[in-house]
């Protein structure tokens, strides 16, 4: 049992402590932090869901969840202006959505 987990839900940061009410939250690309007496471990989650059960168990489902030290900052810096540029040339709704996702994910990766 840890002290607290903070997950990046679509409606904002969700702090989960033992005894939290049962919840399902959709996650947006962002940082999840696990707080234990000794310290904090952070992971970047690509998207997914957080299921908090009534018995103080929480499941985090994500396609990709990586410890922050595995992220290459240079690739993130290069990607963000690239996508922001592509946003201007995207034509169909679907293309615009794809590029927007690129912008969102790279902005989130850039935050820590």
């Amino acid at each position: 049992m840890v002290d607290m987990v903070i997950v990046p839900a679509t409606r904002g940061q969700l702090g989960v402590l033992p005894g939290h009410v049962a919840t399902i939250a959709e996650l947006k690309p962002g940082i999840m932090s696990v707080h234990d007496g000794n310290g904090v471990t952070k992971y970047f989650v690509s998207s997914g869901f957080a299921f908090v059960h009534a018995n103080s168990f929480a499941d985090l489902i994500a396609v990709e969840a990586v410890p922050l030290d595995r992220i290459d900052a240079c690739l993130v810096w290069k990607g963000l202006p690239e996508f922001t540029q592509k946003l201007k040339s995207a034509s169909t709704d679907l293309e615009k959505a794809e590029v927007q996702i690129g912008v969102d994910v790279h902005s989130a990766l850039n935050s820590p």
Binding site: T10, P29, V63, A97, Q100, I101
Partner: protein, 68 residues
């Protein structure tokens, strides 16, 4: 009580497509060797055949692995 529709759904994209695009973007921003491992993990190789009149037609192979 309902939230506005997310932009990707409004553009006709499903959640799975959205989630996979996010995951791919994250994978491409990893340091080596994790990046190569992650991209390798996602490679697929499968055969798919359409059925017509109760019979399977010639299967098409879809693969991310190098052709031999």
């Amino acid at each position: 009580m309902s939230a506005p529709m997310p932009f990707w759904r409004a553009a006709g994209m499903t959640y799975i497509t959205y989630s996979n695009i996010c995951a791919n973007l994250v994978r491409n921003c990893l340091k080596e060797p994790h990046k190569a491992e992650a991209l390798n993990r996602e490679k697929v190789h499968f055969a798919i055949s359409t059925w017509k009149d109760g019979k399977a037609e010639k299967p098409v192979i879809r693969s991310d692995l190098a052709e031999d």
